[in-house]
Amino acid sequence: MKKRKNRYAFYLVLAVGFFVVANYGRYNTLEYIPISVTEATNTDTSFDKMMRVLTHERCVNCHPNDNIPKQGDNSHPHYFGMARGKTNMGFDATKCNTCHQSENDAYSGVPGAPEWSLAPAAMYWEGLTRIEIAESILDPKRNGGRTSEETMHHLTEHELVLWAWDPGVDANGVLREKPPVSKEDYIKAVKQWFAEGHRIPSE
C-alpha cells in the first residue's frame, strides 16, 4: 500500500516537473501572440474608416477617462498638472486658453483651435473599444444631447474636430501626426455611416 502511494507521488512529481520545465520559458518571458488591431480593422467600410480616426490620439487625447488631458503622439498626461476643472477648460485662473489660443502657434509649438477644451466628462473615449465609442457618440446622455443628425454635423464640421488634420508642430518644431485617414475620406465615411443607419457592427 505504502509502495503504491510512493509510486503515485513519484508520477505526480514527475508530471508537475515536466509541466513546469515545458512552460518555463513561456511564463517567464510573458510570451504572447499580439493581435494586430490595425489588421483586424483595416477594411474599407465607412465604420472602419471613421473609427480609425476617432481612436487616433489626435481625438482621444481630449476625450480622457480620468479628467486629465493627454498630450503628444504618445498620449502622456498633460504637463503641469493640468486637468478638466469645473468647465472643461482647466482651472479658474490657469485654463486652457492661458496657453492655447484659437489657432496653432508655430513659434512655441502650442496647438490651438476655436473652443479649445476637453470634451465633457461623459464623452470619454479613452480606453473604450470602437464599438463602445460608437455607442457613446449615439447616446444623447453621453454625446451632449445631440440627435444623430447633429452628431453627424458635429463630427464632420466642428473646427476643433477638424483640427486633427491641421495639428501643427510640437515644441520641437516636429509636425504632429495626423489621423490615418484623410479629412475628405473621413467626412465622407461619417456621412455614409449615418446615411446608412449608423449600424454598429458586432466584433
Partner: protein
Amino acid sequence: MTISLIVNGAPQTVEITDGNTPLLWVVRDLLNLKGTKFGCGKAACGACTLHVDGEAIRSCSYPIKLAEGKTITTIEGLGNEQDPHPVQQAWIEEIVPQCGYCQPGFMMATAALLNIIPEPTDADIDQNIINVCRCATYYRMRKAIHRAAAIQKETTAKTKE
C-alpha cells in the same frame, strides 16, 4: 500689419510684418517694457505671463494679431513703487525673489488668480500657479500669495469704509 491695443492703460499702435510675432516680443522689443521675461518660449515656464483682458496669458505663445483691440497689462502696469499692487507689496514683505528672473510671471499669474479667487487655498495655488522657478522660491511665494490675498482684503475693506 497694424495692431492697436491698450498696454498698461495707454493706447498703442504697432506696425509689424509678421502677425504671428509673439506678444512677448512686441511688449519687450517694440514697447520697451522689459519686465516680462522670456523663459522657455514654449508656454511651459510662465516667465512671460501677462494679462490680456484681465486673464493670465503666456505671451510667448500669443500671436500679436490676436491682441488687436485687447487690453494688456504687464508687471509695469500692475502697480508702481509708490502704489504697489497687493501682490507686489506681498512679494516685497515676504522677500520672495532670489535671482528674480521668473518673478514677474509669478506675480502676474497670482494677480490673475486673486481677481477670480480673492482668498485662494493651498489647493487653488497648486492648481493655478504652475510657473517654474529655478531658485525654488515656491515656499516663500506661497506665503506671499496668502499675504497678497490678506492685503487685498484689507485694501478692499478700507475702500468700502
